[in-house]
Symmetry: C2
Subunit: 220 residues, 2 copies
DNA sequence: ACATGTGAAGCGCTTCACAGCG
DNA sequence: CGCTGTGAAGCGCTTCACATGT
């Protein structure tokens, strides 16, 4: 709290210490744990939450302190308030529109994935370069051609693009998304993509198995 | 090389400095980049590989040095040799059998995913608790009941389990996999699972979008 | 008495910068 | 001369330990 009080009471809402990226990645996990709590539970301690999230309790407290935490000493944290604070910090109070490019098995599965909807992520467009897929309905949405991407992103206010194409197409698709004004990309293609001014997160399913393979190999 | 020479020449094959987990996670990326190189290219510099992998060249050199690197000063690394060394370190010279539990949209997509096969990961069993799915064929494999899991893992030599169930079932499934002798789990369920003696990696699709949401929110 | 909030120490990864070698 | 291999410095995250507050 030193950081704030030094600047006076009115600066609270204006100044924030930057949240470490390691913390940002854990906030969704805390959120998940809090929501999985029995309905009657309205208080949690950092220790309790830590066990559920599989981390150290000091880490929980430090992470939550970045939210301008309002835990009560000797008691714990108010669950409802904490849920709201995390959602607020993650920008989850607003719906976000998502487009998916590459409608193969994985793209279809993601288009149908309930978890996105539950968190306020709306899939508003499906795109594929293969003319044979055009017009196919996936979860009620038609597959559209790549030429329709830029207009669709603009008119439907999409902010996030998901790439589920084969690796060779990934960079080209990323460029197209960036050109259309997309600011965040979730890349499932097994390729590294480079795009200026766009936040990219990589999820490579085969990479995950290779890491597991390493530990299997190592242990033997 | 100091670490080895101190122990004498014969210890080379016996003693290895431990590979940092951060490095382990990058090796598959390097592998990907190397394999995407034009067929004629037989040499790469750390700088070239670094650009392709989106990292710093010193990091590449340090990472590769854990493999007991044999780059040539003033020249670079032999691509073919490097590919082999990485595959060897990751234990990819051996096929690994995988079972998938939870045959919803995502489970089906993964069962069909070509990227696993290409890296030597063979899907040898599909399991689901829903009796209505039993016997469904996915990529040529029948969906089997949970009761068949333990036997199947043992008889088909499965080493890796993939969980694609809803969150509430995840822990129970993890326990079942651990009980069946599985040593590595890739968990796609939006839940934290705890299992002794089992390496668990978590891939939460909704978490990824929430992290992107944070940066969208932050930037605004 | 008890759990939070946080300086400070610890630890590991990243990056620099250059010696070493082909 | 060019590029690797690596000490050493830098940086950020984790963990400890305890002062603080109720």
């Amino acid at each position: 709290m030193r950081f704030r009080s030094r600047l006076g009471p009115l600066s609270c809402a204006l100044v924030k210490r930057p949240i470490p990226s390691a913390t940002v990645q854990r906030l969704p996990v805390y959120l998940q744990c809090l929501e999985a709590l029995a309905p009657g539970v309205s208080l949690v301690s950092s220790e309790d939450l830590a066990v559920r999230a599989g981390v150290n309790s000091a880490k929980v407290r430090k992470d939550l302190s970045y939210l301008g935490s309002h835990g009560v000493r000797g008691v714990g944290y108010d669950v409802e308030r904490l849920v709201f604070q995390i959602q607020d910090e993650l920008g989850l109070t607003k719906e976000r529109s998502v487009v998916i490019v590459g409608i193969g098995n994985l793209g279809r599965a993601l288009a149908n994935y309930d978890g996105f909807d539950q968190r306020g992520f709306r899939v508003v467009g499906l795109f594929d370069a293969d003319p044979r897929k055009l017009g196919d309905l996936v979860d009620g949405l038609p597959v559209e051609p790549m030429e329709a991407l830029a207009d669709a992103v603009l008119q439907r206010g999409a902010e996030i693009g998901i790439i589920t194409t084969p690796a060779p197409a990934a960079q080209e698709v990323a460029d197209a998304l960036a050109g259309a004004g997309i600011k965040s990309i979730l890349n499932f293609a097994p390729a590294v993509i480079k795009t200026d001014g766009v936040e990219v997160r990589r999820v490579d399913l085969s990479t995950e198995l290779q890491v597991l393979s390493f530990y299997l190999h190592r242990r033997a």
